[in-house]
Amino acid sequence: MRLEYFQMIDRITALDVPGKRIETACAVPDQSPVFEGHFPGYPIMPGVLLIETMAQTGGWLVLATQRCEKMPFLMQVEKAKMRSFVAPGQALVGTAELLHEGSGYAVVKASISAGGKKMCDAEIRYGVVPFPNDTLKAAMLETATRVGLPEEFHHGA
């Protein structure tokens, strides 16, 4: 994870587009300015960053489903539950299941686990729209390669 750059996903570890499912690996850094403030003497991952991690996990599933032809933007979070604190250095597993692919929107059910224990979950909805510019498209494709999105799902480029 690169918290300061809001890059929460290290690697896509499993992807099943027909099965509408994705799994990601996200390593919480040992140190970050985020933890210095949240909180002094008791560093824990902010809940909003866990939501962002779930959103990015689901977002990669939506991108793969769209063959990177369109960009998902976070629109709505339903029933987000932070079940356990996440500490620096923890290895997280993100999972998301595509509940519905609408016209111009998508809905996923996402969760994060650590050591087999569910840490948080939420239903996340995205607006799915054409890339607003080539710069973002190129950056997303570069990130897609970095996190291991299989080449066949870059074909919208």
């Binding site: 519905h100 609408g102 016209s103 111009g104 929107y105 809905v107």
Partner: protein
């Protein structure tokens, strides 16, 4: 069994917290009922799920922008329901 209109009106009432008696078949979802884009996402999801369809919202928007149709053709509730019925029939 509820009619298409009754189901849609119920979805809108519950999703957007609008009293059912303020919703009529002639109501324009956006202009009359004040449903914003985020709430319409909720409504669209609920309608898609309830009827087992995928409303082609992007195509409808493109058609309105191209001048082929007016917003009333898709977002006045009686017209929305007619479109839903067509989508359900096409699926069968």
């Amino acid at each position: 069994m509820a009619s298409t209109y009754e189901t849609v009106a119920g979805i809108i009432s519950e999703t957007c917290d609008i009293e059912l008696d303020k919703i009529t078949p002639e109501s324009h979802a956006i202009n009359d009922l004040g449903i914003d884009s985020l709430d319409f996402l909720d409504v669209a999801f609920a309608i898609d799920k309830a009827f087992g369809i995928k409303m082609p919202l992007e195509q409808w928007t493109a058609d309105v922008n191209a001048g082929k149709f007016k917003t009333e053709d898709f977002f006045v509730l009686k017209n929305l329901c007619a479109n839903i019925d067509s989508l359900v029939a096409a699926k069968a």
